[in-house]
Symmetry: C2
Subunit: 229 residues, 2 copies
DNA sequence: GTATTTATTTCGTGC
DNA sequence: GCACGAAGTAAATAC
């Protein structure tokens, strides 16, 4: 990993064209060849970048009118995208061997929500019974298929954040599932940690129930059961 | 901007829980208070981060069994999310004043595609005439409304990448527009630089025409016209 | 390999 | 400030 603090201007020509006027920035050159240019704000996103595989060529500039001392050209292997850095001043330049990273272990995403809800299907109501997770259909798998206390089939769509897309998706599943005489009639449940108002309105309008999931509570049930064994 | 190369372990508890085992990494502390942790690959994405507003507290650790020398705690102002860095070794630590960045100027995104297609509406077929861009409806603006050679009204939805969402969006517009006796019947055209197979199937099934846009060709027409004036 | 879905999405924009 | 749509989305997963 090479860290360069430099006063530079940047031009990108690739999926779009973009330009960064002259300013002080951090240029990050990683071991995989990728290059990113950061300003002093926004944790997540660089101002500009080039994904690997790409190559960096450095050329000195002499007697440049505008005062530039070097041009760095980053070329993307396949697509021919280019990032051109016009370097005016270098305030810091250091390199560091970091080695391979063991990587992030994460927990609490949609897949996990689905597992938890399948395990604790009665969260949806007393007497609910799981048929199966990832119930396959021609247009893709339904997150959870189950039966309610009256043995009516229920299709559940799970999202971390429930938006209109999710309601549309569930609607397509319901339309298809209701054509199957073995399953019909099939009710829909839209389950998410957070449901956007517009999504809720659309769901209700289509007779789909909305359920807000409490991840910590679901996990809490888990923990409580863990203690029993 | 503060750059720290450190051997550290990281724990995040917030929107999810995540853990990074001990390894050498770059910790980037920006002027807006944001913190991001980078490995030596992936240009774009940090392994872990905290968006502003947040605050960093550094505490020394003495006689830690595992060999940690400090604990850095990043706390997000509002949500209470936490990022805890357990520092074992610091190989580099430098700070740099970058100042405000003038920001990125970009070109070639959806808005630009819309402008170009509106200017060259006959790309859709001979005899097409523009009614207006961003035609307002109760559920949002239609990208382009125009008439084909038979004077039938046509609603155009433009995407850079055409996916199912876009077809659903256009379907909602068409349903609404077709209730207006002054406009009905209204046909739909789904225009994108790239149309995903599933989106195309759904569009065709609903009687919506699909058009693949060639950005360079549209821009080329522009250039050709520029040369005439 | 391609296609689809998720994301601590992030980011802008309009209300 | 909230909600919605786009992104040079990127990254993981299913097929």
């Amino acid at each position: 990993m090479r860290l360069v603090i430099t006063r530079c201007a940047v031009d990108y020509a690739g999926k779009l064209t973009a330009h960064l006027p002259l300013a002080l920035r951090l240029v990050l050159i990683k071991a995989d060849g990728s290059v990113s240019i950061h300003a002093d704000d926004r944790a997540y996103k660089p101002l500009n970048w080039m994904n690997p595989p790409c190559s960096l060529r450095e050329e000195p500039l002499t007697d440049d009118e505008s005062g530039a001392t070097a041009r760095w050209t980053v070329t993307h292997g396949k697509s021919g995208e280019r990032l051109i850095l016009t370097i005016h001043e270098v305030l810091h330049d250091s390199s560091h061997e970091l080695g391979l990273d063991p990587g992030l272990q994460k927990d609490g995403v949609e897949a996990h929500l689905q597992e938890l809800l399948a395990e604790h299907i009665t969260t949806l109501g007393t007497g609910y019974q799981l048929i199966r997770r990832e119930y396959p259909t021609a247009i893709g798998p339904v997150d959870i298929l189950c039966r309610d206390s009256t043995s009516t089939t229920v299709a559940v769509e799970i999202k971390r954040r429930g938006e209109i897309d999710g309601v549309e998706q569930l609607t397509r599943y319901l339309e298809l599932l209701n054509r199957d005489p073995l399953l019909a009639p099939v009710r829909g449940v839209f389950a998410a940690q957070e449901i956007k108002p517009q999504a809720r309105v659309l769901a209700v309008d289509r007779g789909i129930d909305c359920v807000t999931l409490d991840y910590d509570a679901l996990r809490g049930i888990d923990n409580a059961e863990d203690r029993l064994f």
